[in-house]
Amino acid sequence: MKIKNLIVIVVLLATGFSTNAQLTGTQIIDKTYNRPTGEDQTSILKMTLTNKQGKQRVRTIKQFSKDFGNVEKNIMFFQTPADVKNTSFMNWSYNSDKSDDQWIYLPALKRVKRISSDSKSDYFMGSDFTYDDLGDRKLNADNHKLLREEKINGKNCYVVESISKDEDYMYSKTITWIDKSNFVGVKKEFYDEDEELLKILTIKKVEKIAGFYVVTNSEMKNTQKNHITSITLSNVKINNGISASKFSERMMTRGI
């Protein structure tokens, strides 16, 4: 019996008491970024931009994404407004340090054009989301620190501060509230270069679709400019077996 107890203690020491151990900020963000989301996903994204006068502009996009292991491919087909209809955008995001590959197809030019992925700090279609906010930020791009645990909106959350390793990054820091039960983000604050609060991302709705947690409604508010962008996902389909050929020049030009 004594020997058995000893073995248990040794095993627990060796695994670092993994079941009860306090996760580090990096581990929490890692679990959040690498939360299972399915092999592929299709959805219709509706983005509503509301300015401080309450005037709204709406953009609709049909998007497809697929995880190929070492690369995640995403293709978007713009449906509204009319002046961007049939424009498509494709992004290949790599697990390695390689920067993303991006292409855009403008129907007026009838040509797929490779564009620089350097502009990740640019705002996407005039919204409050930068390309970086929407994409997969790499885990090691920031230093992550667990600040505390607290309950918001009835959810027990980790609160993690992330500071970019790139001094020129547009945010001095971000603070993320992550649901302890499923590692889905609940809220995120973005601070500008002067360390003033710039934007707040609020996750409004999370649905379990095909066994995976999907954020289907979120809102980004620029607190300095009082401008809001709301994103809703509809017609979400997961693991529908999207063909690899979907992510090609052929589909960008043909459209959906």
């Binding site: 390689k98 490779r114 919204s127």
Partner: protein, 416 residues
């Protein structure tokens, strides 16, 4: 008047057909006015209705794109810019009909992008989608992984559209003697023998995108075969021969070309290149022994360019060179002809206000076309544009020759 009625009936018919068939309908209405700032003449008064009718299925699709232009209050013209049908198969697609085909990686210059000829009736000013004319063609795209083999067969040759003689973009050539033109030989009869063929292999990869192409085509611009007529000047002693007239016969000639292009990203900068080797082009020469005052030479045309961001400003620049191989000093054209382009763009006010500057800079001719513009998206799909087309530099240059046409212009466009 008859034409106008036909166009209106056709538009109404297509409109109701679209409704009945649940076609996807889109397009734009645009009003476009330009005034020269030298003399205040309204040199552009153009109203446009662009309609796109599309229906897309799993296996087939079609598109028809009629464009109605009204240049003056009573002048209406209909242009079927594209009308084609698509068939989709597992590994290949087939497109048959009038279509615009765009190749290459260069912006605003046409190196390997020679399948669809240009409409230069308003010089290089129209938007790039309107500057090309459609060709009646069969296009086959065969897909292997990330690469595509594209084969094009064009049974009917379409030449470059030139400005009318009464257009401000028409430059009256100067001849040393009375000249007559015989345009009868400039027509190319549609036949199997006179077909044009193009082949391209392209790939889009994580490292580089590239295209390799070849074409057996017609020179879109006719060569001017010049016949000189001489008489005797009896006022001199002894009498001497004198040029009394010129007979010019414009003819299109066969042209072959091979070329390629690439684009890749290195540390946030896009590097682009495109080159083509043209075989058998006819050039004007002053060599008195040359038949028709023409000499056949090969030439190389290439462009190298970069796109990059400086803060929130998007910048792009290109260097273009045309080099005539085995040059002869009696040729009228220079051995090298160098041009550059520069583009900068800044989007502000949540991408509703766009500032853009695009310029062609004639390095050889020491002239330029400078095109600043401001576009404001007044509402979704509705934009207001204020721009300028400024021609500067030597009057014998490609751009400088249009100095008197420098203008400011506005475009109001409603997309639907």
């Amino acid at each position: 008047m008859k034409n106008k009625i036909i166009i209106i009936i056709a538009t109404l018919f297509v409109g109701s057909f679209a409704k009945a068939q649940k076609l996807e309908t889109s397009g734009f209405v645009r009003t476009y006015e330009g005034v020269t700032y030298d003399n205040g003449n309204f040199v552009i008064t153009q109203q446009t209705l662009n309609l796109n009718f599309e229906k897309r299925g799993e296996k087939v699709a079609f598109k028809a794109n009629p464009m109605l232009y009204m240049y003056k209050a009573d002048s209406l013209s209909l242009n079927l810019r594209e009308v084609y049908m698509d068939m989709y198969f597992k590994n290949f697609d087939l497109r048959i009909g009038k279509q615009q085909i765009v190749w290459g990686k260069a912006d605003g210059v046409f190196i390997t992008d020679v399948v669809s000829p240009l409409n230069l009736s308003e010089f290089l000013l129209p938007d790039f989608d309107e500057i090309r004319t459609g060709v009646i063609a069969t296009k086959l795209d065969y897909y292997i992984g990330n690469s595509t083999i594209e084969a094009i067969w064009i049974p009917q040759f379409t030449p470059t559209v030139r400005p009318d003689a009464n257009s401000i973009w028409y430059i009256q050539p100067e001849f040393p003697a009375p000249t007559t033109f015989d345009w009868r030989q400039s027509e190319i009869n549609p036949s199997l023998k006179n077909s044009e063929m193009f082949l391209k292999w392209s790939a889009m990869t994580s490292k580089v995108d590239f295209e390799l192409m070849g074409g057996y085509t017609w020179d879109d611009n006719p060569s001017m075969h010049v016949q000189k007529h001489f008489g005797m000047d009896t006022s001199t002693t002894p009498p001497s021969p004198i040029l009394t007239g010129l007979s010019i016969t414009p003819k299109h000639h066969r042209l072959s070309l091979v070329g390629g292009s690439f684009s890749t990203e290195i540390k946030g900068v896009i590097f682009r290149g495109e080159a083509a080797y043209y075989n058998g082009k006819y050039f004007q020469t002053e060599d008195p022994t040359a038949e028709g005052a023409l000499i056949q030479k090969d030439y190389l045309n290439y462009v190298a360019g970069i796109d990059f961001n400086l803060g929130n400003v998007k910048l792009s620049t290109q260097f273009i060179q045309k080099y005539i191989i085995d040059y002869n000093s009696l040729m009228l054209e220079n051995e090298f002809h160098n041009t550059a382009t520069f583009m900068s763009r800044y989007d502000m006010m949540r991408e509703t206000l766009h500032l853009e500057l695009f310029s062609y800079i004639g390095l050889s001719d020491q002239d330029a076309l400078i095109r600043p513009k401001i576009t404001y998206d007044f509402d979704d799909g509705f934009s207001i544009l204020l721009g300028g087309n400024v021609f500067v530099g030597e009057r014998d240059g490609q751009f400088g020759q249009f100095q008197d046409n420098s203008m400011i212009y506005t475009k109001l466009k409603y997309n639907f």
